[in-house]
Amino acid sequence: MWFEQVLFFLAGIGALAGALGVVVLRNPFYSVLALVTHLLALAVLFLLLNAEFIAAAQVVVYAGAVMVLYIFVVAYIGGLDEPLRPEGGLVNVVGPLFAAAIGVELCIAFIASGLSALDTRGADLGADFGSPGEIGQLLLTRFLVPFEAASYLLLMAAVGAVVLARRRRGLEEVEIGALEEVGAPPGRREPPPETTLEVRV
């Protein structure tokens, strides 16, 4: 139906615009915002594909939690405003070239493939295709192991994050540095005695 097509194009343009914004925008904060836009557009696309639960998860988890975490970090760190023509030579030219090459190959693969199913809207669906009930049932029966593995992975990620981000106790210069750290922008720091990254766990 024409409604779907219009919606598809709108969401598609939104997604592409968000993606381009992430890559092109100089301020990392703007990049994060562009990604959020991209994620919302992608949620719309998921809805068009009858994946309601995934769309909801995208908005709530991805755009809601992960991106918020991102925004916090970007606010904390800030990051540089990169110059418009960054140095680094060859990679800046060749990289996009290879990426474009991959894009062309993928498109050829998709469009010129002999799969007839690609040219349809897809199989006939039941009424509750993509509903949370279906997904939940699958997660607890057929895909139980990936489900548990994913939760285990989340546990490890949480532990890792705590380890990475904790303060080191009993180290003098870090404590002094810690007192200074709060609220001071990066530019005003004096160079540390050692600049090498030591792994002290």
Partner: protein, 99 residues
């Protein structure tokens, strides 16, 4: 819409993400571009799920989201640790593993 449109769109998003990984120097933005690529993959997965009429692709996309979340957490943790140790937040400066 035919499924192939979604796939082509996901290819474009993937490619834009790849170009971004290669081009940007701020590690935060590099991670964002990685997210782009992951999302492109998600889109392709869901499109194929629609094509087959099965839910496997959607479950896969859910797990991918979980993984992306974990990866973002760790990556941001590393960047925060870099920041705390007063290292420059620039991927080109982090080249001590040269051979």
């Amino acid at each position: 819409m035919d499924v192939v449109w979604f796939l082509v769109l996901s290819a474009f998003i993937f490619v834009i993400g790849a170009a971004g990984v290669l081009t940007r120097r701020n590690p935060l933005v590099v991670l964002l571009c990685l997210e782009l690529m992951l999302n492109a993959g998600n889109l392709a997965l869901v499109a194929f799920a629609r094509m087959h009429g099965g839910h496997a692709g959607q479950v896969f996309a859910l797990i991918v989201m979980v993984i992306a979340a974990c990866e973002v957490v760790i990556g941001l943790g590393i960047i925060v640790a870099m920041y705390r140790n007063r290292l420059p937040i620039d991927v080109d400066e982090m080249s001590e593993l040269r051979g």
